[in-house]
Symmetry: C2
């Protein structure tokens, strides 16, 4: 509440470097985590990611600091809308953001000790889909998200925003290996007692409800929109499951399919 706020009006001030040129491909959010807006900055502060600075319009900081305690030693920079736009490279109408260090991932072994439901992604390059998946996973009790080969960075700014900050709360880990070898890591999930389920539009696959019924621990594998899971990945799983689709229609969006699977998983545990 007695937070020391520093007013900065010079966009070239090096204290802004953590939040500079956020739309550039070499922007700070490749090294750091960037949170935007009251809700998500609040979740960043409660997360395992060590916050480096908070930046905001005076009124936005007032509102935020009424509800949140910022740790000692974390600078709070007060800026005008114009200054922040010049720093970030675009107009940040939410008027509040924060940068944090990238904390190490949760070790896979730790995740597998306690989790009952995990999602495993392969080749998912779309930030919005990954963000939606974290939001839906949190909402429907999925304990962790694991990344196979070829996925986009889950700590990218857009993912953080679309996930509503849940990527900062839900544990995740990357499974090692290339396009054709990462699937071997799935053996660790099987050894930990997980029933491995591939989601596929293949009409010959089992109905999702049957594939999930009566399982203690479940790993739901989801592939990229379009190509879907590789045959390599599907072979490494116990069952192929489909969401029934009307004839002549398109497959569902990736995040939507996953959300339905998360729902069915929760339903199977009733």
């Amino acid at each position: 509440m007695t937070q020391h706020r520093i007013r900065i009006d010079d966009p070239t001030d090096p204290r802004f470097d953590d939040v500079r040129d956020l739309n550039r491909s070499d922007a700070a959010d490749r090294r750091l985590v960037i949170a935007e807006g009251n809700l998500v900055v609040g979740r960043l502060l409660e997360s395992r990611f060590p916050v480096r600075c908070v930046v905001g319009f005076p009124a936005k900081l007032d509102a935020f600091l009424e509800e949140h305690e910022i740790p000692d030693g974390v600078p709070v920079y007060e800026v005008t809308r114009e200054t922040l736009a010049a720093v970030a490279g675009f107009d940040l109408h939410r008027g509040l953001l924060a940068a944090a260090h990238r904390a190490p991932e949760t070790p896979l072994a730790d995740i597998l000790t306690t989790a009952r439901t995990v999602a495993v992604l392969e080749g998912v390059g779309d930030h919005e889909n990954i963000g939606s998946m974290f939001r839906n996973a949190a909402g429907m009790g999925v304990d962790a998200i694991l990344f196979g080969n070829g996925c986009a960075d889950p700590l990218y700014r857009r993912v953080v925003r679309v996930s509503m900050g849940h990527v900062l709360r839900t544990p995740f880990a990357h499974l090692e290996g290339s396009y054709t070898t990462w699937q071997r890591s799935l053996e660790q999930l099987r050894e930990a007692g997980f029933h491995l389920v591939s989601l596929t539009p293949d009409p010959a696959a089992e109905h999702l409800a049957d594939a999930l019924a009566g399982r203690e621990k479940v790993a739901l594998l989801v592939g990229a929109e379009g190509p879907g899971l590789t045959e390599h990945a599907m072979r490494a799983t116990d069952v192929r499951a489909r969401i029934p689709m009307a004839p002549g229609t398109d497959s569902l969006n990736l995040a939507t399919s996953a959300a339905i699977a998360f729902y069915e998983r929760e339903r199977s545990l009733r």
Copy 2:
């Protein structure tokens, strides 16, 4: 196959008026239906909407005309990327679009005669959500979408695109009345034998699976993200249903909630 193609290089040519300034709020897509890209233009041609013109880059038209027959009397305009960008007001990298008249809506009575599952929206102003809902409705066997008060235009260009053209195929109708009176139209659904189900995040509501079990005809009511359905609307339904959510998380995105309800509906009919 012997389609007469007319090359036009002057962006001010009045024959382009149907597809001019597409990002402007008074653009043609308020009066017409605009379809973009091979898949969606193809669906427009198969739809009940009378096509007025097709516009495209030469190579895109070649590919399209190999697979589709364009009715006699519908002009096909061949354009360069630069010309089309000048006409539309932005770079249309898909290189193919078409405009159609807005055909009248399917009469509600016709919909209710044959439909077993309908979705009813209230206050849904987001084009992307409406588009996703049409895509998911088509994929999971929902027969029609009905619009209560305060919804955005379902034939807006962005809806057509996000729906992957399914808004051109799935019947829809608007229910008449104001914010507090449109709900009376729901009586017609009840008379037609529909079980009326409100989707709500309210933890006191019934589990979605229980609310849908064993019902012959179902109408799924969905409100806007944030406020949800009005109390007026919920009171006019038979049951309030919830998707179970983990404590302390945010409610699901509107289109995602609806997709889960569509899935559960299909599942209840197995």
